[in-house]
């Protein structure tokens, strides 16, 4: 292994150590599935490794791969009816809201998670999802309208 490769290797491992848990949590909020979340994060780092030297800021890149993979996985499973979400926090208000979040269309859920968990501005979410900012805002409105109506 060359010195450059060793440094690169070290760098990606540092990022992995620092960011893996946060990214798994993000993936879980997007998918609601623990095992899948770990797989998505692993896949994201696998995608990043080959072009690590070209990635200026790894975290947005990794987020984008994870969101894309989560959406892709959801679409591939569209034939299967969604299972009733299980309580995860055993706080009734939290678990009920979480269940409703999982029932949102995956695109809307992704916007909600990126906005309110990652605290990303809509312009950044639009860039991450490769969609117009106004469309992302529309998705956010629809999601909030749905949640407001159901949770009221």
């Amino acid at each position: 292994m060359s010195r450059a490769n060793a440094a690169q290797r070290s760098d990606i491992e540092d990022v992995y150590s620092a960011e893996r848990l946060g990214l798994v949590r993000l993936a879980f909020l997007l998918t609601g599935e623990r095992d899948l979340s770990e797989d998505l994060v692993q896949t994201a780092f696998a995608a990043a490794q080959g072009r690590w030297a070209d990635i200026d800021d790894p975290l947005p890149y990794l987020r984008r791969v994870i969101v894309n993979q989560a959406n892709e996985t959801h679409r591939q499973r569209y034939r299967h009816p969604p299972e009733e979400p299980e309580p995860v926090t055993h706080q009734p208000d939290i678990d009920e809201t979480w269940a409703e979040l999982l029932r949102l269309p995956v695109r809307q859920r992704a916007v909600v998670v990126l906005r309110f968990y990652e605290d990303l501005p809509l312009t950044e979410i639009a860039r991450l999802l490769d969609r117009p900012a106004a469309t992302v805002r529309s998705d956010l409105h629809r999601a909030l309208d749905t949640l407001r109506r159901i949770l009221r």
Partner: protein, 416 residues
Amino acid sequence: MNPLDIMNDDLDAELATHLRRTLRAVAGTIDDAEPGDAAAPLARVGSSSPTSSPSDDEPPPPAAQRWRRARRGRPSGRSPRRAGLRVRIAVAGAAAAVALVGLILIQPPGTDDQRAWAADVVEVARVAPRLLVTADGWTVERVDEFDLEHGEITWATGDPTRVTSTSLDASGELAVEEVSTPGQREFTIVWTADDNEAGYPTYAEELAQLSERAERLPDMTIAGHEAAVFQTDPSPIVIALWKEGDYGIGIGGDVADLDEFRDVAASIEVVDVDTWLSALPPDVVRPADRADTVDEMLADIPLPAGFDPSSLVSEGGASEPYHLGARVTGAVACAWFDQWKAATAAGDTAAADEAVQAMATSHDWAVLHEMEAEGGWSEVVWEVADAMAEGGTIDNGAGPVPAADFAVAGLGCSNS
């Protein structure tokens, strides 16, 4: 259970707070003590190949996503063409999601009972498939594209009530906006020429994507053609495709259920030119009024040296106020953006500053505020202005976004 007892004006702020609390609490259930989590090394790096990484060889987006993009007038897979008014409108439509393509209706004085359509509009109507939804209760909601290569007409039904919704905008401020009620359903008819240059998915491309990704339902006969029918998503998005001459026809129903889709699809009829055009939204700004309207729009907008607004008056095309506003403000914004880009590259600080300051006034341009309620064009102009003011990029904490991203993709400015 009533997790949100929100009955006051701070509804969205409280909802946002509740969502943040929920997401953090749920995320907190994932920790390194979870079985299978703590021991997860970077083991699979190099051993798997993702299918959705953001790379140049990224596969085309799935059919449902491409369909939605196409419905919003945004070609996928290839870059949209530069400069053509149609494409500029398409970008505006993508940003706005509610924009209309205006059709020029030339109505000479004293001929109230007769409608003479502009030649280019008639040409589209003569060549493109003329399909109308005739089901009771369905009316044309918008025309996002109207061209020989590609067209998109959306019908809607259901509760048309507009309600006010507030939400957090990009800067974290609460924004108030009118939104459709969930009771409204939409049905879109799209035609795409096989040899279209704008990058819209052709019939063959669309069919291949849907066949791979979506559930195939029994074929239907629509307007005399055998159509392949797909359901693409758990939400009730149903798509039917068929081939008609040199065009691929797609219909997409964001409808209540498959039965409603079948009913509406069965109501589609092929009609003559005049019937078809008469069913579509007419123009608002007549050609004779265009010069005055452009002047009015430009009244509070600083123009760069050498900018000639006469072409905005003389050119034909769409004349609905929103689109004319997009055309006018886009031309000015791109001219300032071009000056800023060239001046920055040349180290001409004064010229660059002039452009930045001129674009900063865009937040006060009356036409943009008038357009704001209709769609997202104004927001894109302001994003370009803000990016220029902040040194060329907007950095929201997750990496810089170049001003050019907004200017080229959002406004149709030159990328050269």
